[in-house]
Symmetry: C2
Subunit: 129 residues, 2 copies
């Protein structure tokens, strides 16, 4: 995503917003001129450039890339699914967790039963003597 | 969340935005006067009232409640965790899925081994004859 507002060409965010990109542009390090505008378009549509700018200002510089990535993910998910957004992914994962927990419980019960059966078999030769 | 802009008192969104709540207010059915303003404050801070209003207009009326709930969830998560927002919950669930899948694989291997052992034991009395 890396870009810069100092090379003369605007970053992806400023390109989308059709504004001059300055050396202080908060978006420049994360939105390149090529793929940046499309990603920023989704972010702007869902969150608004101004809200995201304010958010980034309140996040340490070292964490801003992660903040941009997660905001971009949420924005793109909301455009794909306007009703549930990325929460649909969350629901799917919750269902998968519930299903796997059920499998684990079932197999634990099977293993416990096997242990009981195994014991009966292992003392069988002794009983036969 | 149910509220109305027709009873005279503004809905939670209009109360927060300090504006007159009309009978056509798109937020009124989902933001009551009591808890509504606090929830709407988070939504407004993260997404902006105008963006959410546009989003709801593009969602069928029957799905708007779910859209408001998921937007409220994302907004509140982003306020709690400005870097990862609700994506942190997603990461946690992905880790839980990976852990449970590991457990299932391990137990499947154990059950398969038990089946082999069980076979050896079950033919033991025959071999002793």
């Amino acid at each position: 995503m890396a870009a810069t507002g100092t090379t003369g060409s605007p970053c992806g965010a400023c390109k989308f917003l059709r504004r001059k990109c300055t050396a202080e542009c908060i978006f420049a390090p994360y939105f390149c001129s090529e793929q940046g505008p499309a990603i920023f378009a989704a972010i702007h549509k869902v969150f608004g450039a101004s809200n995201v700018s304010k958010l980034l200002l309140h996040v340490p510089v070292s964490d801003r890339c992660d903040a941009v990535l997660t905001v971009a993910y949420e924005a793109q998910s909301r455009i794909r699914d306007p009703i549930y957004g990325c929460v649909s992914h969350l629901f799917a994962l919750q269902q998968q967790v519930a299903y796997l927990q059920g499998q684990v419980m079932h197999m634990k019960a099977q293993l416990a039963q096997n242990l009981i059966d195994h014991h009966s078999f292992s003392i069988w030769p002794v009983l036969q003597e």
